[in-house]
Symmetry: C2
């Protein structure tokens, strides 16, 4: 993250304290010390500093446990904000979240299509500016922007390592460029990883090892272990869409063959709707249309409304996403799989029930422990919210406190 | 691990110091302090304690860097030992390793077939006793036994959660029983995870995120991140044999369908040898034979000798194991895959070249970084050696030092 924020000492302790207050919602100094393992004296000092800068506030007293009642602390959620952006060809979602990770503003538009990166990022920057203005958030309180998109990426360099959607995007400095346009730090990350960590931060998942199965235009995955994204060697793991599920299958653009995505993702379902029945015609789908998300949403809506052809296609896609979920659970030994992203949100309950059924029946680890399947609390916005959460997670520790307010 | 060893203070620091000396081979106290972040005063004290107990020795002086020459330290490899056991139906390998993880004794026998656990463990215990005697290792210097086998397992409870090879094995207290028979602590772990950590400990892999693709009678995987086995929720992850690679495939005993193992593991290759050509007859394979490893080794040897039918089968198995390697690399974002276990060792160079070709061509992360494929330094013995290494890794920190020698 190209960030200008520099800590004023003890940044790690400060991050731990902020995160513990956030997770607990309200907590006393003495509980903070017990939970973090930091000495009470240091807690007192760090909390004083955070209160001087308006990040933490006192909110009354807890019940006495014998001695004098303990003063309770809370984050001041309006003290700082983060922006999250889901960027892709067929959908862009922008959110602003407060220090608690709660959404305070949101907008979306139908994606950047085949725009070159220069123009696409100018469009995104204009929308971010407009959203900050509309939300009435003071710009100096915005910590940065989390830009969540597909991979492979070089996360440190802030570039994509793919020619999608066009060759100009390969190694274009998207994080640096957006940072310059907005005069804000910008962090690049994987959409599914962002969605996964967002669930944890928002309290939907408390602990354990869990995964996120994510579907927007494409299919991806993210895994969280003990509150941290599983990164592997280069943060390009959990590429669940590009593993072979049909050893007799056709070659994929990625270099592999029989890839899961080609059987189950929105483009595959649209192709099936056009070729296998009258569904495509009935829904007015156009084979030449590149707006995958809108077409897919029509099929999902028809399935939800009980159209048998649409139901059959979504169920088939669900069974295959079940294979993705089973493979993720069997390889990462997961307790839980969270379904997120606009395409899974489009038929959330249908997908949830089919995928859960597959996981219960087929996962190798099930003799050792249960594996649950739930839908994301953030639905379509999971990656954008997660992007903003990654900014909070990364920046709170190194916050530039400046002079006290 | 049901262990009687209790530290005498500072156990974590002691483990870190021992591990740093081991990794460096020879190192001075001041370098130890720099590398571990422990204060020089504490290093001096911990090293003194370890020397008093004969675990660390001084081995001369390094080159002067201006001041007085630094005294170099080494582990005394003969100070303690660990036993590693690979236990399965078709093969058992027993090793004793010294403090450096180097093998000092080894034996093997053709497995415990369908013996009930009581009898199988008595057989293993007798072999361990005989090996300790034959090696001339003082029993009080043996830290414990690492029992490496297939899963799913409850590693903490020391039991298998599978009915393989017979129903009596399910939840039978194998670790506790073997511990009682040998009067030694026994740790249960996954064979592929053990094989993976063994590579790191023996110095074959220095760093990064890497995986081990392991094949004995069955097929498994292990992943190591920063020198630690990836554990997931219950240490039953990387179950690469039981993921779907053929969405049109037949049901597997595990509850899933189209499982990779059923196309690529030794039993599958033997079945192909019996059904697809004269190879099975020529090699004298018997359809009723349950000794999978011996039959598979015959096919692998024939392939190595250039038999075209055998070559075709091993290559086909290799392409499918390539799918396993690609899936592991794409999900865990690996730098490196190590091929280990008796069945991969039986045709090591053939498997290595075919699997590497598949990985180079098909892995999603390859635009981000190279992914190498190598064969294990320990070959057939990888899981047994890894089991012993897991004992060292777990026990060194909590070593019962007793009274100085």
């Amino acid at each position: 993250m190209a960030s200008s924020s520099i800590g004023t000492g003890r940044p790690k302790t400060r991050g731990i304290v902020l995160n513990s207050i956030r997770a607990a919602r309200t907590i006393s100094r003495i509980e903070l010390a017990a939970r973090t393992g930091v000495t009470p004296a240091t807690i007192t000092q760090v909390v004083r500093e955070l209160m001087d800068h308006g990040l933490v506030v006192e909110v009354g007293r807890g019940a006495s446990t014998g001695g004098k009642p303990r003063t309770l602390l809370q984050l001041n959620p309006q003290a700082r904000y983060a922006v999250g952006v889901l960027l892709e060809r067929n959908i862009c979602v922008l959110v602003i979240v407060d220090l608690n990770g709660r959404q305070v503003a949101r907008t979306s538009f139908p994606g950047t299509a085949l725009l070159p990166p220069e123009k696409a990022l100018a469009l995104v920057a204009a929308q971010v500016d407009a959203l900050i203005d509309a939300a009435g958030v003071a710009r100096e309180r915005v910590l940065g922007v989390g830009l969540a998109t597909y991979g492979p990426q070089d996360r440190q360099a802030g570039v994509l390592l793919t020619h999608m959607p066009t060759a100009e995007w390969f190694e274009y400095p998207i994080a640096q460029r957006l940072s310059k346009l907005l005069s804000l730090p910008v962090l690049l990350d994987n959409d599914a990883a962002a969605a996964a960590i967002g669930e944890y931060w928002l309290g939907a998942v408390k602990q354990g090892t869990y995964g996120c199965l994510y579907m927007a235009s494409g299919l991806g995955g993210g895994v969280v272990v003990d509150g941290e994204v599983y990164r592997g060697s280069s943060s390009n793991g959990v590429a669940i869409g590009h593993i072979t599920v049909d050893i007799n299958g056709r070659p994929c653009g990625c270099g592999n063959y029989g890839c899961l995505a080609n059987y189950a993702d929105p483009s595959a379902v649209i192709e099936q709707a056009l070729n296998e029945s009258s569904l495509g015609r009935r829904l007015g789908l156009d084979p030449g249309d590149t707006d995958v998300m809108t077409a897919f949403r029509r099929i999902a809506t028809a399935a939800d409304a009980g159209d048998p052809d649409a139901l059959r296609l979504i169920e088939r896609s669900g069974r295959l996403l079940g294979t993705a979920a089973v493979t993720m659970a069997s390889l990462f030994d997961l307790d839980l799989i969270v379904l997120a992203g606009p395409s899974l949100a489009a038929a959330a309950s249908l997908y949830q029930s089919v995928i859960e059924e597959e996981v219960q029946r087929r996962t190798f680890v099930r003799p050792a422990h249960p594996v649950r399947v739930i839908t994301s609390v953030s639905g379509s916005d999971a990656a954008a919210i997660g992007g903003a959460v990654l900014v909070l997670q990364g920046e709170l520790a190194f916050l530039e406190l400046g002079t006290p307010a």
